[in-house]
């Protein structure tokens, strides 16, 4: 199979380049990550992040044939050759397919991704009914792979100020949580023209999420709540 891979070595290269490979695959090489590991056997300098190899850690998000995917769960036979592999768009490239996601995680931290409850401790557990728990379905499964935010044009144009689909989905995950007591503050934090309202519902995020989540819908739910309490 033919591959074309984005290469950039900060110690040697002034600018990035594409390197072509023709790879002899083994019978149990099914996923792009399998191919990347074989490519690394040919050229040991090829660098990329990976860990669980089963689509749950979110490490190996990259742009494969023009679309952000997780390399470990993207089947090789579903892709047209040459398979073009590039890093996630819009983010500074540290090396080869490894991008700097500092800002992405800063946005995540900014929305306070934990349950806020400053009331005195109850005598028993803080209870949550199955119905209340079900409101977190479609939100808790996010693995912070950054495929969504790095495919969002609004995030490309304003990465410093716009929180991005992943951060906003996580914001909603805590807004929707029945145990959380900070609803008004969370909604306040997301008013203003930039943090949430750069979103134009382009829906690239939902198109691309490898876990099948819908950040655009979560953002819409936040808007609904903000609207509901204002009017």
């Amino acid at each position: 199979m033919r591959f074309s891979v984005y290469r950039f070595d900060p110690d040697r290269d002034d600018k990035p380049r594409m390197q072509d490979f023709d790879l002899e695959l083994q019978p149990n090489d099914h996923m792009v990550l399998d191919a990347l590991l074989r490519l690394k056997q040919i050229d040991d300098s090829l660098s990329f992040r990976r860990s669980c190899r089963e689509g749950v850690c979110g490490s190996d998000g990259m742009n494969i044939n023009g679309r952000n995917r997780l390399a470990c769960i993207t089947e090789l036979r579903s892709l047209r050759e040459p398979i073009v592999i590039r890093p996630l768009p819009g983010q500074p490239v540290i090396r080869d397919l490894i991008v700097d996601l500092t800002q992405f995680f800063e946005h995540y931290h900014s929305i306070r991704p934990w349950v806020v409850d400053n009331r005195p401790m109850p005598e028993h557990e803080r209870l949550q009914s199955p119905e209340e728990r079900s409101t977190l379905d479609g939100l808790y499964e996010c693995i912070l792979c950054a495929c969504c935010s790095t495919t969002c044009p609004s995030y490309w144009w304003n990465p410093e100020q716009f929180i991005g689909p992943a951060g906003l989905l996580q914001a909603y995950r805590f807004i929707a949580d029945s145990r959380d007591q900070a609803l008004d503050e969370r909604l306040d934090f997301l008013e203003g023209p930039f943090r949430l309202y750069r979103c134009r519902t382009i829906m690239n995020c939902t198109e691309v999420c490898p876990k099948g989540l819908a950040p655009s819908h979560a953002i819409e739910q936040i808007r609904k709540l903000q609207f509901g309490r204002s009017f």
Binding site: L190, G192, F194, R200, R223
Partner: protein
């Protein structure tokens, strides 16, 4: 969170954009139907069409809605693309000027025809 953020407001702008859009949609539909249904062969008919009190009022409202809608939309484009950030107030001012001039012209034309 800066006071400026609250003033510009994301929710407020978004709501005004939707409200103005809905009014313009309704107005546009009624206008389209009436334009097709009414004979408008000469100046007298054209003038009468626009200066009838219900039409004139609805049109003035539409012109204001248009200003609001175009402002929110244009502002979004500027906030997305205009770099450096210090250039944004200038761009926003130019947008305001363009929309303001157009809308003023529409309104003045209609009011002059009425008066």
């Amino acid at each position: 969170m800066a006071g400026g953020e609250r003033l510009l407001g994301g929710l407020r702008a978004w709501t005004w954009q939707r409200v103005s859009a809905l009014y313009l949609l309704g107005f546009g539909l009624v206008l389209a139907i009436r334009l097709v249904a009414t004979p408008l062969a000469d100046y007298a008919q054209w003038h009468a069409f626009w200066t009838a009190p219900p039409m004139a009022t609805a049109t003035l409202l539409a012109v204001v809605s248009l200003a609001v809608h175009a402002w929110v939309g244009g502002r979004d484009v500027i906030l997305d693309y205009v770099r450096p950030r210090s250039a944004r107030p200038v761009a926003l001012a130019l947008l305001g000027l363009l929309i303001g001039l157009a809308v003023a012209r529409f309104a003045v034309a209609l009011l002059a025809a009425l008066g």
